[in-house]
């Protein structure tokens, strides 16, 4: 399996736990960062497919890290799973505004992590760029609409502009 995952957590124990779970999933191309700063460098060097990031870390928090990735890293559309022990509405809203792709609540269970990774692999979210936001589209579309998106978005089809047939086809957002 060639999937590459970056774990960002200040606690060595949590990194070991996450790595153990990923190994059991068959994912062995894993790198670890103990700080958000270190993780930003690894995005460039290791080119992960997914990052798993702890919310609360000393120095730069997980949320700060997500904002930096979305705002100006080498891979602004990197799927990011945030591990959080708290799921208050305030936090969830802040995390979504920052551009978090998926959440896993602590205590981390292998099943919860499996589901979120599968969600990213099997149903990748499109991204939204507006004047005030850049991040994953958290609305869910019908599977056939998602498939239409992908077909229409092939390089051969080019990049449709507003009002084109392809764009109108994509407006069927559920």
């Amino acid at each position: 399996m060639n999937l590459r995952i970056l774990i960002v957590d200040d606690h060595a124990g949590m990194r070991r736990l996450t790595k153990t779970i990923l190994a059991a999933f068959g994912i062995r191309r894993v790198r670890e960062a103990s700080t958000a700063e270190e993780a930003l460098a690894l995005i460039r060097e290791f080119e992960p497919d997914i990052a798993i990031v702890d919310f609360l870390m000393p120095g730069m928090t997980g949320l700060d890290f997500v904002k930096l990735v979305r705002g100006g890293s080498d891979d602004p559309m990197l799927p990011i799973i945030m591990l959080t022990a708290s799921s208050t509405q305030h936090l969830v809203t802040a995390a979504r505004d920052a551009g978090v792709t998926e959440f896993v609540a602590k205590p981390v269970s292998p099943e919860a992590l499996r589901r979120r990774i599968n969600e990213i692999i099997l149903h990748p979210r499109n991204f939204i760029r507006s004047a005030t936001f850049f991040g994953p589209d958290r609305r869910r579309k019908r599977p056939e609409a998602v498939e239409e998106d992908r077909r229409a978005a092939t390089p051969e089809a080019g990049t449709p502009e507003a009002g084109s047939d392809a764009t109108q086809a994509q407006e069927r957002v559920t």
């Binding site: 124990g13 949590m14 559309m77 292998p110 099997l122 507006s130 092939t154 449709p160 407006e171």
Partner: protein
């Protein structure tokens, strides 16, 4: 841009224009399994996690010992900034213990650490009281780990759980500088 397969310009119901970027669908290929990670892998992972329990005990011991050290540091911190820095360290350790406890079969550690995290967020709480609670909750977690109180910990565990929740409610009492009662949840 990396991962971009194409994009569309759209107009929202409220009239805002935005770009929808279609993400390349290539992770399934890297995964080499069209169905993703199978459910059975989670069961195997759970068994692997259980084999880490002895290591968790060692991590928890170190974290709890650090919490116990932070209590006197909280009392002697020379400035508001130093107090907040100490509280932040305690919050981060509590957050880690909260996240790991239940994963490794120690939900009592998770509950006590949750109460500690709540108390360490109360900036206006009397500093001596906060120090005392930090010391006490650290000691309670130490007891859970040293006595190997897995699961609910039986009658002893219930006593510790109630005590931790009472402390969190007490700390939240507005008369003592807390925001409100009933935050311990």
């Amino acid at each position: 841009m990396k991962r971009k397969a194409g994009s569309f310009i759209r107009v929202s119901e409220k009239g805002y224009t935005y770009e929808e970027i279609v993400v390349a669908d290539d992770l399934k290929t890297k995964m080499e399994r069209p169905e993703g990670i199978p459910p059975d892998a989670a069961r195997i992972a759970q068994q692997a996690v259980e084999r880490l329990q002895d290591e968790f005990v060692e991590w928890a011991r170190r974290d709890i010992a650090r919490l116990a050290e932070l209590a006197p540091e909280l009392a002697s911190a020379p400035s508001d900034a130093a107090v907040e820095e100490t509280r932040q360290q305690a919050r981060i350790i509590a957050h880690d213990l909260r996240g790991q406890g239940a994963t490794f079969g120690y939900p009592l550690v998770t509950e006590i650490a949750t109460c500690l995290g709540t108390i360490m967020r109360l900036e206006k709480l009397d500093r001596e009281m906060q120090q005392d609670m930090l010391q006490t909750l650290a000691e309670m977690m130490r007891e859970v780990i040293e006595q190997r109180m897995r699961g609910d910990g039986g009658a002893s565990g219930e006593k510790l759980r109630k005590k931790a929740h009472r402390m969190a409610v007490l700390a939240a009492d507005p008369a003592r500088g807390g925001p409100a009662a009933g935050i311990a949840g």
